[in-house]
Point group: C2
Chain length 288, copies 2
């Protein structure tokens, strides 16, 4: 299973579109609200998410219905707290202890909070918009435009040639860390075309056939859909775009396996298990 | 090849981020600007897109650099013309004659025009924003937020059971037309999770394993990334969500093949070749 997937929440699409059902849910004494410290998840001594009762929430709180678990409504309260995942040790620690299910719930909540904070105004006419659809949308009171949470497709991929895969590092990575190349898919592109373009732009490597491996949501820096692929490289010379990458290299399956196993003689550090680049490297080593 | 892919345009990411290069491109007498009638493509007698020279463009036109072909800059001029693909016979006729390359160029241009029209204001602070990055972004002069073209991932899929696939029809479809089920992927979901949720919501069918088949951009009604999959159904009873679908049924490979071939005895009409649902049905019939 890829990171941030496996949420047990039933999104009850029919019910969340019904304003009366939302009022019923917010009046349900069994309701629970996700515990946050700023934008980071509160984590219990047992390593689980912390849920608060409805009585702990201010009367004017803006609640988003995450969904139901065992018929109990689960919410997150919108907050304007600021956070930066790349500088929050708290979040990396939380992700190393939370179960997959809890990480998926937090990821969904975090993506929704960030989207509301960056979309308070109607992009069509500039008027302040209002929550609707139990928090899964915003509506403009002036022009009536309905806005829905944005998710940006990102391709993340290994170019493959003669049993070796291309990995790269950005200057902001911790020392020794390498990962798959990645970039935003653009309007007018298929997944396969975006994969080829990004590898060409960042590393100057020409690719042919592309195969899909896995996907996962990524809730930081805007909500993203990570789409992991392997591309057959038709050339091997690396021409680095130094604005994007500090270094790139071709690694064998043994070298990738050593990195994933955190072997002492590994020639690079692999990304953490909740990042899809880890899944991608693992499946590539396994021959997928 | 899926519809709206295969564009020959080089997007020159480095150059389009350079304001001086953009000025050079717009002063290049070899530059070409896409011919549009409203939002529809102008089509020549030979069935190709029509390109205008830079001299035909008003001095205050807002141009987006689509990219280069043979080093020649190709642009589209932003327009506030309104269009609705579902009511434009002109566009369906154009798509039936344009080459794949031309359809892909038009799709990219159309997606960018629609995005600019629905994102004139900063969603973070409500201020009118300005073009930057050769038209591949907008920047807020008040809060400095940079906005990039939005592409919504959509899953489109066949549930499969015992050699049959599930197809459905929306009430707005032409009579007799059936297609794959489809829906927007949401924050906090993988592709596979969105596929299972949508089939359950629309048809009440439980699915297990999901396999990826193909992808394509879809430039109408907002820029979308269509992600086509086949899901293994674990149940077969159809419980229709009549808000979404008017009818749904299980069809055999022979029945799908007859529909794709437009056989006179076909029990339904298949989607057109430039829609990925056609690709998906074709590949499913072929055993993929």
């Amino acid at each position: 299973m890829t990171g941030f997937t496996g949420s047990p929440l039933d999104r009850v699409d029919k019910l969340r579109s019904d304003p009366e059902a939302f009022i019923r849910f917010t009046s349900d004494w069994r309701g629970r609200v996700l515990g946050l410290e700023g934008l980071d998840p509160m984590v219990s001594a047992e390593g689980t998410l912390v849920w608060k009762g409805m009585a702990d929430i201010a009367a004017n709180a803006e609640l988003v219905l995450l969904g139901l678990i065992n018929d109990k409504p689960h919410f997150v309260e919108l907050t304007t707290a600021k956070g930066d995942v790349f500088r929050s040790p708290a979040i990396w620690m939380a992700l190393s202890v939370l179960s997959a299910e809890d990480a998926a719930i937090y990821g969904t909540a975090r993506a929704l909070i960030d989207w509301h904070n960056s979309h308070k105004y109607c992009s069509r006419c500039g008027t302040e918009s209002e929550l609707f659809r139990s928090g899964w949308g915003r509506k403009c009171p002036n022009c009536g435009t309905e806005h829905f949470p944005r998710t940006d497709p990102v391709v993340i991929m290994l170019a493959e040639h003669d049993g070796k895969a291309l990995v790269g590092r950005q200057s902001r990575f911790p020392p020794g860390n390498y990962s798959a190349l990645a970039g935003f898919l653009e309007p007018g592109e298929s997944i396969e075309e975006a994969v080829r373009r990004e590898i060409m732009e960042e590393a100057g490597v020409v690719c042919g056939k592309v195969r899909y491996i896995a996907s996962q949501p990524w809730p930081f820096g805007g909500s993203q859909l990570m789409i992991a692929c392997v591309a057959e490289a038709l050339s091997t010379d690396i021409i680095l775009d130094t604005d994007e990458l500090e270094a790139a290299m071709w690694v064998t399956k043994d070298e990738a396996a050593a990195a994933l196993a955190k072997a002492p003689d590994a020639i690079f550090n692999a990304p953490p298990p909740f990042a899809i680049a880890n899944t991608l490297l693992t499946r590539w080593v396994a021959g997928e």
